[in-house]
C-alpha cells in the first residue's frame, strides 16, 4: 500500500526566512504527488502537483516543490515566508490503481515575527 511520511509535525520559521517541508512517499511507480494547505476551519487548498515531466514544479503563493525519485521525496519550498503562510500543510499521493488520495499526517507551520 502506498504511504506518505511527513517527518516534521511542527516547524517554526521566522517571517522572511526560507522554508522547506519534507515529504517522503512509498510507491513503486512514478506517483502523482500533491501539496495541500489547510488553514484553521478551512478545507484543503491545492498548492501544486506533480504528474510527470519537469521535476521542479511551481505552485500558487510562491511555493515550489521538487520531485526526487532517487530519494522518494517531494519537498515543498518557499524562499521567503509570510505570516499568512502559517497553516497546516499536507503532502499526498494519488493511488494510480484507484482514485483516492493518501495523505501524510501534516506539518504545522508557525511563523514568528
Amino acid at each position: 500500500a502506498q504511504s506518505v511520511t511527513q517527518p516534521d509535525i511542527h516547524i517554526t520559521v521566522s517571517e522572511g526566512a526560507s522554508l522547506e517541508l519534507r515529504c517522503n512517499y512509498s510507491y513503486g511507480a512514478t506517483p502523482y504527488l500533491f501539496w495541500y494547505v489547510q488553514s484553521p476551519g478551512q478545507g484543503l487548498q491545492l498548492l501544486l502537483k506533480y504528474f510527470s515531466g519537469d521535476t521542479l514544479v511551481q505552485g500558487i503563493k510562491g511555493f515550489e516543490a521538487e520531485f526526487k525519485r532517487s530519494q522518494s521525496s517531494f519537498n515543498l519550498r518557499k524562499p521567503s515566508v509570510h505570516w499568512s503562510d502559517a497553516a497546516e500543510y499536507f503532502c499526498a499521493v494519488r493511488d494510480t490503481g484507484f482514485q483516492k488520495l493518501v495523505f501524510g499526517t501534516g506539518t504545522r507551520l508557525l511563523v514568528s515575527p
Binding site: 506518505v4 502523482y32 500533491f34 495541500y36 476551519g41 478551512q42 478545507g43 484543503l44 487548498q45 491545492l46 502537483k49 504528474f51 499536507f90 499526498a92 494519488r94 484507484f98 482514485q99 483516492k100 488520495l101 493518501v102 495523505f103 501524510g104 499526517t105 501534516g106
Partner: protein, 115 residues
Amino acid sequence: GAGVSQSPRYKVAKRGQDVALRCDPISGHVSLFWYQQALGQGPEFLTYFQNEAQLDKSGLPSDRFFAERPEGSVSTLKIQRTQQEDSAVYLCASSSSGASGYEQYFGPGTRLTVT
C-alpha cells in the same frame, strides 16, 4: 465559480443518533470523494463515486457508514448510531474527468462532534 459546498458546517449529535452530511460538488464534476479527518491527522479516504456509481467504499470504517449520490451530483454521507469515535471533520472533494481530473477540490468540511 462556486466551489464544493458542504452542509451543515457543524453538527453535534448524541451518541446513538443518526446524522446526514451533504456535499454539493462543483458543477459538472464527475468524481466525488469523502474523507474523514480526525483531530491532528491527515484526511483518510472513505469512499468514491463516479457519477452515481459508488466505485470504491473500501475506506468506510463500518456498516454504520453509508454514502449515496443518486443523481450523480449531490452526495450524502449518512452515519447511523453515531459513536464517539466518529467525531471528526468530514471532507468532500470533487474532480472533473480526464487528465485534469487528477486534481481534487475540497469543500470546507463538516465538523461532527458526538457527545
